[in-house]
């Protein structure tokens, strides 16, 4: 192939305005990471050694144990349940196969909040056990304390296993049939079919689900703090909030990033292998009928995660809220926090959908024009990296650039005699920015996947029929993409509403969302009105779970790979 010299005009004939805007957006997404590295490097020798000696080793160790434990728990529960509901028929199977997704609606800090109270030495469970055993004081008998690393692993596992369950079930449902039937016909028994065929087949799906669950674990701040586990995330928060040591917090955040990168690499690698596997023809697996005791055992086993991960905390929160409402009505503070949460989530959703559309559409436009596609694809991928950044890491990385921005605005405003104060930080603009960066992958990925189902030839047809790109967006893309847009918007709305770590760090003074209000309540050790906030969060969180169960696709998040 000959290489021609290009005129400048030919070089820059890209769909410039939109693509530049998208590239700018992608740059903003990686800005926190760059700033973080710079801030960490600035930390003086003394600070680094303090963090290095006193905080990092213990926090890293705790975090690694937590990741390992949660990984095992979600892997076992998620894969086991997915296998049982896919391969066997037993009472309640259909119903349970979607009920297993319900714990997705319970954020980690809510499950910890609920169980702390449920399992309190004076709480309902321990009292019941003592009554049954004939003891009458917590001093004579108490269960092992939930406030331990093991307790934390168990609780996180109970609400995070659906990530594994959903991806693995989708895999079994679409492509396991012919392989498993061949294995059976070659004389493999049920155990051998599972260990020798199903498990290796599901390994990429397990890894994808597990890496998503572990990213959530890394992101968690509420549960580990309530349960007294000093993880890296908790250390970032306390180093900044209580010690006001930004460089130290950045150093810890940077070490978290190493773990994030490992998890993302694992996820991407497994997704590639998964895609390879999914080229096989798909047919659902016909489940084998279980009888008698075995059938009921399966029902019991599969019900357990649903009961512990969703029903128990949900019932507890509902009961507590009901009691509280009967006694005092809905407190003004809860109403206030609800309104705040709703407003900020609506704004963040709007911005995130618009930003996602910009990223996905500029790629589409490049494909339409037949130029700049590679650049646009990289832009989309970089712009979607934020989903992997834990909220605390993102917030710490954003603090400095936002302070610069506010200072800059203040200087300009001062020059014309106005007092702007801290525009971004005080207005909630910082929060909206953080939510957008963190959840951009959901909308950008969803819209991009939506575009994937509309061949580019359709755009070309519309263009040849006299339509400008804008008109194509309006008359062809919009009607075809509405479901993808709505799905993405719902997910972002709910995720924003549940978000805790970044919200804690970036919210304006005295601005409480349901999540921060619950956090403050639990941090004070007061479990009064928090139940209502928790219940509201779980109820709204149910919406995407229902959507997910209905679409039956099983993809938790569509991340552009």
């Amino acid at each position: 192939m000959a290489a021609h010299a290009l005129t400048l005009r030919q070089r820059v004939r890209l769909p410039l305005p939109w693509l530049s805007l998208a590239a700018l957006l992608a740059a903003v997404v990686i800005l926190p990471v760059i700033v973080l590295a710079a801030t960490a490097a600035q930390g003086s020798e003394g600070l680094w050694s303090h963090v290095g000696r006193h905080v990092l080793p213990q926090a890293s160790l705790n975090t690694l144990w937590l990741l390992l434990g949660v990984g095992i728990v979600v892997g076992v529960i998620g894969t086991g349940c997915a296998w049982l509901v896919s391969a066997y028929e037993f009472p309640g199977r259909r119903w349970l196969s979607w009920a297993l997704l319900l714990p997705l609606a319970v954020p980690t800090y809510v499950v910890a909040y609920a169980y702390l109270d449920l399992l309190h030495p004076l709480g309902p469970v321990q009292s019941l056990v003592r009554d049954l055993l004939g003891y009458d004081s917590p001093r004579q008998f108490r269960l092992p304390d939930i406030r331990s690393l093991a307790g934390c692993i168990g609780l996180l596992g109970l609400v995070l296993y659906p990530y594994v369950y959903a991806t693995v079930r989708a895999m079994f449902a679409t492509q396991a049939a012919s392989v498993l039937e061949s294995a059976r016909s070659l004389g493999a028994g049920p155990v051998a079919v599972f260990t020798r065929v199903a498990l290796p087949l599901a390994r990429p799906a397990i890894a994808v689900g597990m890496s998503l669950a572990l990213l959530e674990t890394l992101n968690d701040i509420g549960a580990s703090q309530f349960l007294g586990i000093q993880t890296l995330t908790v250390s970032v928060y306390t180093t900044w909030v209580t010690r006001s040591d930004l460089a130290g917090a950045a150093q810890i955040a940077l070490s978290m990033l190493v773990l994030v990168v490992l998890l993302v690499v694992l996820e991407r690698y497994s997704r590639r292998r998964q895609r390879y596997a999914s080229s096989a023809r798909s047919r659902p697996l016909p489940p084998a009928r279980l009888r008698g005791g075995k059938a009921w055992l399966a029902t019991a086993l599969v019900s357990l995660p649903v009961l512990l991960g969703f029903v128990a905390p949900f019932a507890f929160l509902a009961w507590e809220s009901w009691k509280r409402m009967g006694a005092h009505g809905i407190p003004a503070a809860v109403l206030d926090a609800t309104w705040n949460t709703f407003t900020i989530a609506v704004i963040a959703t709007g911005v995130t959908v618009a930003a996602g559309l910009l990223l996905a559409w500029s790629l589409r436009l490049a494909q339409y024009r037949g130029t700049g596609e590679r650049f646009a694809a990289v832009t989309l991928r970089v712009g979607s990296l934020g989903y992997a950044l834990p909220g605390t890491v993102l917030a710490i990385g954003l603090l400095t650039p936002m302070a610069w921005f506010d200072a800059g605005v203040a200087r300009v405003a001062g020059a014309i005699g106005l007092d702007s104060g801290m525009v971004l930080m005080a207005s909630g603009g910082a929060l909206v920015l953080a939510y957008t960066l963190r959840f951009l992958a959901i909308t950008a990925g969803g819209i991009d996947a939506g575009f994937g189902r509309v061949p580019v030839s359709m755009d070309h047809a519309a263009g040849s029929l006299g339509h400008t790109p804008g008109a194509i967006l309006r008359r062809v893309h919009w009607p075809l993409l509405r479901p993808a847009l709505a799905g993405g918007a719902l997910l972002v709305f709910v995720d924003t509403m549940k978000e805790l770590p970044a919200t804690l760090l970036l919210r304006p003074m005295n601005f409480e969302t349901l999540a921060t209000w619950l956090y403050a309540d639990a941090a004070r050790g007061a479990y009064e009105d928090g139940a209502m906030a928790a219940l509201l969060i779980v109820l709204v969180g149910l919406l995407p779970v229902i959507l997910l169960a209905r679409t039956r696709r099983g993809a938790v998040v569509e991340v552009p790979a």
């Binding site: 192939m1 000959a2 290489a3 021609h4 010299a5 290009l6 005009r9 030919q10 070089r11 004939r13 339409y368 024009r369 037949g370 130029t371 061949p455 030839s457 359709m458 070309h460 047809a461 519309a462 263009g463 040849s464 029929l465 006299g466 339509h467 400008t468 008109a471 008359r475 062809v476 009607p479 075809l480």
Partner: protein, 331 residues
């Protein structure tokens, strides 16, 4: 000569990798007279679809000009956007809008017409493609052949100055394909539409086009009527791509001179007193006759179509002569 409906001059197309241009199509020129149907024929990856996209405006042009009815669409430093070119497009996958019914699909490019005129135009187009009652159906309710016709109606509705067809029949089964190719050709004739189509299927090209260009590696090797391409291919690449045949040294067929000749299978006539002896390698019955492969004594393999009748089995020795219209000498 009147102004050509389409004129490509020294067209260069390619994509940029790290600031360097990888040429896909080089120095390509062609002209279509008004009402003429042209076709670019070539293997996948030869650049033919790239040419089509460039004419439609979906591919950056690195050099050369594109003119339609004398109007310059693309020249150095200038490119009219696709939506203002008034060029119709028909795709392999039809690209019908799934959220619109057939009428709305056909009316999609008629936004400038008044409502009543638009309705009449849609009705007229549906009648033209033989589906007058399908207006309220949705694309997924139609068969492949019907979708194809609707796509044609949609592309022709705004009276484009030129119609481009990208492998238009490749998604249809063989029977429908032949039938529809004839119909589409008649329709384009009737409406006087100039068209350029690309395909890798020689049958499709011969059934539709007045003139065919064989493309190899981004260049047109020969631009001619179908018959000429078959009878007198310009070089070995064209000979290999159009029709079946064997390229042999002239000496192998006991012909005078050096160089190579193209021997078509139907030019082999079995004749015990023929000058060329050969061994049968295999033979297969295909209905009207037999398809055979012969080995000449020099080791060259030759394909031959023999009429029905007794055919010698493998390893049999035979002799043949050449049909009257002898083999073509290749440069």
């Amino acid at each position: 000569m009147s102004t050509p409906a389409l004129e490509l001059t020294a067209l260069h197309l390619g994509y940029v990798v790290r600031g360097e241009l990888r040429t896909v199509v080089r120095d390509l020129s062609l002209a279509l007279a008004p009402g003429e149907i042209g076709c670019l024929l070539g293997a996948s990856g030869c650049g033919k679809s790239t040419v089509l996209r460039a004419v439609a405006g979906f591919e950056p042009v690195r050099g050369g000009t594109i003119r339609v009815q004398g109007e310059c669409l693309v020249s150095p430093g200038k490119s009219i956007p696709p939506e203002r070119r008034r060029i119709g497009l028909m795709f392999q996958d039809y690209a019908l809008f799934p959220h619109l019914d057939v009428s709305a699909n056909v009316a999609f490019g008629l936004r400038d017409l008044a409502k009543e005129q638009r309705r009449q135009r849609v009705a007229r187009m549906l009648e033209l493609v033989g589906l007058p009652t399908s207006g309220s159906a949705y694309p997924h309710e139609l068969s492949g052949g019907q979708q194809q016709r609707i796509a044609l109606a949609r592309a022709l509705a705004p009276s484009p100055r030129l119609l481009l067809l990208d492998e238009p029949f490749s998604n249809l089964d063989a029977g429908t394909r032949e039938h529809l190719a004839g119909e589409v050709r008649a329709l384009l004739r009737e409406t006087g539409t100039t068209a350029l189509m690309v395909t890798h299927d020689q049958g499709e090209a011969f059934a539709m086009a007045d003139s065919v260009g064989v493309m190899v590696d981004g260049r047109i090797r020969q631009w001619d009527r179908a018959e000429v391409l078959y009878r007198r291919p310009a070089d070995r690449a064209v000979a290999a791509f159009v029709g079946r045949g064997s390229v042999l040294p002239a000496a192998a067929l006991k012909l005078d001179g050096d160089g190579f000749v193209l021997l078509r299978p139907e030019q082999v006539v079995v004749d015990p007193s023929g000058p060329i002896p050969a061994t049968v390698v295999m033979s297969r019955f295909v209905g009207p006759g037999h398809v055979c492969r012969l080995r000449l004594d020099g080791g060259e393999l030759v394909d031959a179509d023999l009429p029905a009748g007794p055919v010698p089995g493998p390893d049999a020795r035979i002799a043949f002569r050449l049909a009257d219209a002898g083999p073509v000498r290749l440069p």
